[in-house]
Symmetry: none
Subunit: 163 residues, 4 copies
């Protein structure tokens, strides 16, 4: 295991929604991320950041200075090449995730949550790699009939599946 250092980055309990993924062609993708969120959510408040390897820099865009700073800080802390971060308030991943997944330079999305989260990073002689994400605390039992009923009521209370 020489040459690999595993690090757990703890981001605590976010007061924002966060999406973390991997892509390429940073200078175009950063603008496409902006468009994906802005075109999906009327009046979106968000920040987006993406790491570039050459030059070594975090690209940043968005509509809200605080969220731009949060996204940039997460991207910089992760440090892995071609990783991107989107942070939002007043909207949920459901509103933008398909738009982000369909950007032609996006490879995959690791995480979309507002749970407390951690990113597990491996560091080699070349650079850094996201090898896993922790998205909230573990489930410890299978739902009961009562819990299933409450769950179905709750998602309908949020307005999903129509009247």
């Amino acid at each position: 295991m020489a040459g690999v250092k595993i690090e757990v980055l703890d981001f605590g309990t976010p007061d924002y929604e966060v999406i973390i993924g991997q892509g390429n062609f940073t200078i175009k993708t950063i603008e496409d991320l902006y468009d994906a969120v802005y075109s999906s959510i009327p009046g979106a408040k968000f920040g987006a950041a993406m790491n570039e390897a050459k030059p070594k820099v975090v690209r940043v865009t968005g509509t809200d200075e605080e969220l731009k700073k949060i996204a940039a800080d997460i991207a910089l802390k992760i440090g892995a090449g071609h990783v991107f971060v989107v942070v939002m308030r007043g909207a949920f991943p459901i509103h933008v995730l398909n738009a982000i997944k369909s950007i032609p330079t996006v490879a995959c999305v690791y995480l979309a949550t507002s749970n407390p989260f951690q990113v597990i990073v491996a560091e080699t002689d070349l650079g850094r790699s996201v090898i896993g994400v922790v998205d909230g605390t573990p489930a410890d039992h299978v739902e009961s009939e009562e819990e299933k009923k409450e769950r179905k009521e709750l998602v309908r209370k949020f307005g999903y599946f129509g009247d």
Copy 2:
């Protein structure tokens, strides 16, 4: 490497097809997983389960009690937040994978197979993370011209690429 425990979960050779991925908004996604499979496969026999972090519970749905139990057991054993599991019989991942990938709350799919499989999980102080999947035994050589010919005949024998 303090703070990270790596565990290999061995699920043996499945007598079902299995899809494992990561998403969010469990109470809606569990119903969307049901719809994605049910709308894609006539008479689908399947179970789907997804972990929720708050409350800590495994959500379960499907059309077949045995497969619902298998899906729930896999999700519970993995334990990572926002992970989902779909198990099916009488159909293959090709029939549902695009429908699942396009659910707006699905972030990524780690695995879709009926090979013997293992899930590699990292455990931190916060929770658990899928960091890798082992999907069958390793390839050990590049196909020969004869093997390529057999492979092309086989996929056509299954009916793909027309007559």
Copy 3:
């Protein structure tokens, strides 16, 4: 950590574009990868390879013998079941990534780059698993206003976002 060996595979600085992902149903997917690239890029020069677990073999296709060999060598070196590799010259991931992501047997894409890259593999008693990729060297600062301006000019110089 008994039973897990972590290995870093170093592929140096590629003189090609490379895409690495995970799928299933290798005998069909290898032909779909061919079609996804060939239908997306006029005159595409590429090689594609994908690991099969049973029989243990690397499937290979493409339009260019050298690139077919490179793709097969990467797939064989990674060794993980159901992993695929596409290598190209004269085109970029943006030209094929959505076509590849929408193949119904493709689960996820780990990497799309021409940066120096490494693949981090875990080996268990069953087989091998891609647990991470290193895509170039880490970013070390957030872009300045001047760097943002240069970035926007550059992507437009490449012809994106119209005249």
Copy 4:
């Protein structure tokens, strides 16, 4: 032209955004239309309606009574089988059109506009058919360099393509 009566339905200048398309399986699609809009736009105000042939009925859903009535009236006036209508305020077609197009039972979208619009309907002995839509008044010249410049400034003034 015996047996075909062509009719032009004039809907004036709408004070809403309207999307008109063709689908099938009305009893599921009407809920999927609800979900497509509701999942795409936080706090969406909209109505959706869809014609069913057997029984002969206009299905209606939405979050706003006035917009539900407008959508239903348009669908009823068009009268063609399996046609659907979505009307919204506070959001634009860009926010929902991909979600609507990707509903597996949606065949096509004829119109998405807030221009004055007309729907051209053919009536046969069997029923009615949308054969065309008029979306605003005709263009009468090609844009000048000055108009191109203004167009590019305007889309950026709306916030697209980043800061």
